[in-house]
Symmetry: C2
Subunit: 362 residues, 2 copies
C-alpha cells in the first residue's frame, strides 16, 4: 500500500499575515476532525501538523519569507474525491486569504511513494521525472547487473540496467545515432559491435548489407539474453533468435580479451560501435575505474579501426558538460591521434537530450 | 527563499518492527538536537515529527503495511552538505535496521518548492516532470493569455502559454510534423497557417518555395509578437521581421472571420495548417466550448481545402487515448466527409510523445 503525497505552494509578494492565514484555515481542519499540533520552530515561521482519519496528514507552514506550503499525505486506498475536496478547499481558502499578495500557486501531481510499480526514474542530470509505467515485466539480479523491464504506455518496454534507463522499444533514434545511420554506407563493410545486448544495433545493421558484423556481448552468459529476446522484441526483431547468421556472429565473451586478440592478429574493422553500459560490468583488475575502462576500450577500438574507419559511441546527457569535456580530453590522450564530431539527439524515453560521438584516426 | 523537500522511502517485504526502528534512529535526531513530537494516528502506523535548527523538519512514518517514509524539508539556503549528511545517516541506519526486509530504497531528487524559477511543468497526461530551467526570460499577461519564456539549458528558450509547454527552440520535430515536412511537396502551393505565432512553421515553409503562404495570427495584436521575435529566434529565424515577404503575408486577425470570408469568396488552399493553441483564445459567443471551437475551425478549414489538399494539425499526447478518440469521432461528423492519418512524434521539450493528424477530403 503506497502513500500519495500532495503539495500545494503559494509564492507571495510579501510575507503572509500569519495569524489571519492560520485562523482562516482552522474551520476546514475542524470540519475534517483533524487533530492539530503547533510546533515551535524557534523563529522559523509557523508550522502545524494535522492528523485526520485513515492516517491522513497535513503539514501547514507559513514561512517568514513570503511562502506558504501545504503537504497532504494519504494512503493510496484513501477516498480520492474526499482528498481532492480537502485540497480544493485549502487552495480556495488560501487564495481568498492571501488575495492580492499571490505571485504563484503551484499544485503538483501527487507523488506516489512506495508503490509496487516505481514510476520515478531521475535523468542523468539529476532531474525528477515520472514515467507512465504501468507494470513491471521483469526484475531480477543477474550475475552482472540488475535487469528490469518496465512497461510504459507510450514507450513500450523499457530496459533499466542497475537503475539507469537504457533503451525502450520506442528508441530507434538511439540505435540510429550510435551507428551513424543515414550518414554511413554499411554495404560490404566489416562491423564490430561492443555490447549492444538489446539487439537493436544488430537488427538495424543487418538490414544495411554489411560484409560481416561481429557482436561481443558478455551479458548473454546469463538471463539477460532471454530477457532481451522475450521483452525487447520491437528493438531486436528476430536477429537474436540465432547467434550466427549470413552476415553476423554474436560472441558471448568479455570484449577486452577479444579486442586484444584482434589487435594481436592485426584484424581490423570499418566500423566499431561501442554500446557497452556506461559503468563497466567486467571485473578484471586492470579496469578498476570507469575512466580507465573507457580509456582501455577506446584505445583498443581505435587500434582495430581501419585508416578510413569510424568509431561510434554514446557520450552522456547534453547537460553534463563537465563529463563530456572530460571524455573529449581523454580522446586527446589516445596512443593513436584522433579527430571526433558529436551530435545531440532526442531519444524518446530518456527525457533529456543525449550526445553521441563519432571518432576517426587523424 | 524556497524550500527543499527530500524524500527517502523504504519498501519492505513485511511490516517493520516499529519500536526497534524508531529507537534505532533516535540517536541521529538527538545528535542534530531536533525536537521530537510523536503523534497519535489512531492505529495508522507510527508518525513522528522532528524540528531542528534553521527550520529543518523531518517527518518519520513507519506504516503498518511494510513502508517506511522519511520527509526532510529545509530552507534553500540551508547547508546542503549538512542536510545530505543527515539524510545519508538516516538511510544508512534504516538500511541496517531493516536489513533483510528491504525490497526497495528510493531517494528522489529534492523537490524545490516556491523557487523564483519554477522548474516543474507537468505533462499533458498529468505526470510530474522537472525541467532544466535556469532562468525566466519573460513572464507577462497579454490581452489573450499568459506568456512565459523560460530558458532551458538543453532545449533553449521554451514558450509556455497559460501554463502549457508550447514550443522550445529545440522543437523543430514539432514544426516538421505539423507541416508534413518530408512527405509533402510545397513547391508552388498555396498554404494557410492558422496561428503559428512562434514563426516556426512560416520559417520552414518559406524554404520550400511555395506560391503563397497566408498566416493568420491574432496574438500579434499585442506583446506576443515582439516576444516571439526577440526570444524564439531559433524557431522563427528572420521571417517575422516583416509581416509581408515575397511568398508570404501575415494577417493579424482572428482566423474565424478570415476563414468565413475565404469560404464566401471561394478561395481555396493546398495546405491548411492549424497551429492554434489547444484552448481557443477568441471569445466570440459561437465558440463557447473548446470542442465547438475545434469543430468550427475544422469545418471551415476543410471548406477552403482544394480537392487534393491536406489539413494538418496537432492532436494531443499519445497517452490521452480518450481525447484522441473524441477528436477522431469529430472528424467523422464534419459537413464534408474526410479521411485522416496520424503520426506519433517525439517533440524534445514535451517529455511525452505527441500525435499529429493529416486530414483530407474523401
Amino acid at each position: 500500500m503506497a502513500l500519495r503525497h500532495y503539495t500545494l505552494d503559494f509564492n507571495l509578494s510579501a510575507p503572509a499575515d500569519c495569524p489571519s492565514t492560520v485562523h482562516g484555515l482552522q474551520s476546514i481542519f475542524q470540519e475534517q476532525e483533524m487533530t492539530e499540533t503547533v510546533h515551535d520552530t524557534e523563529g522559523h515561521g509557523y508550522l502545524a501538523t494535522f492528523i485526520g482519519k485513515n492516517g491522513r496528514l497535513v503539514i501547514l507552514r507559513v514561512h517568514s519569507h513570503g511562502l506558504v506550503t501545504v503537504d497532504l499525505q494519504c494512503c493510496e486506498g484513501d477516498n480520492i474525491a474526499q482528498v481532492d475536496n480537502l485540497l480544493n478547499a485549502l487552495e480556495k481558502k488560501l487564495k481568498s486569504l492571501l488575495h492580492g499578495n499571490i505571485r504563484r500557486v503551484k499544485r503538483l501531481p501527487a507523488l506516489t511513494r512506495g508503490a509496487a510499480v516505481d514510476r520515478y526514474w531521475p535523468t542523468a542530470d539529476g532531474r525528477l521525472v515520472e514515467y507512465d509505467i504501468d507494470r513491471v515485466v521483469y526484475d531480477e539480479d543477474s550475475a552482472y547487473q540488475n535487469i528490469k523491464i518496465l512497461h510504459s504506455q507510450q514507450f513500450g518496454n523499457i530496459l533499466i540496467l542497475n537503475g539507469d534507463v537504457n533503451l525502450a522499444e520506442s528508441d530507434l533514434p538511439y540505435t540510429q545515432a550510435i551507428m551513424g545511420r543515414g550518414k554511413e554506407n554499411y554495404t560490404g563493410k566489416e562491423v564490430l559491435i561492443l555490447g549492444g545486448g538489446d539487439g537493436g544495433i544488430l537488427a538495424e545493421a543487418v538490414k544495411l548489407k554489411p560484409e560481416m558484423i561481429t557482436m561481443v556481448e558478455i551479458s548473454f552468459q546469463d538471463a539477460a539474453f532471454h530477457v532481451f529476446l522475450t521483452h525487447m522484441r520491437k528493438a531486436c526483431g528476430s536477429v537474436l533468435d540465432k547467434l550466427k547468421g549470413d552476415c553476423y556472429q554474436v560472441l558471448v565473451e568479455d570484449c577486452v580479451p577479444v579486442l586484444k586478440k584482434y589487435v594481436e592478429e592485426g584484424k581490423t574493422f570499418d566500423y566499431v560501435i561501442n554500446d557497452l553500459t556506461a559503468v563497466p560490468i567486467s571485473t578484471a583488475p586492470e579496469e578498476d575505474s570507469t575512466w580507465e575502462f573507457l580509456q582501455l576500450i577506446l584505445d583498443l577500438s581505435i587500434k582495430v579501426l581501419r585508416p578510413t574507419g569510424k568509431y561510434f559511441t554514446q557520450g552522456n546527457c547534453a547537460n553534463l558538460t563537465e563529463a563530456l569535456a572530460l571524455y573529449e580530453e581523454q580522446l586527446g590522450r589516445l596512443s593513436c591521434p584522433v579527430n571526433f564530431s558529436k551530435e545531440v539527439v532526442c531519444v524518446p524515453s530518456y527525457m533529456e537530450l543525449w550526445v553521441f560521438y563519432t571518432v576517426w584516426k587523424k
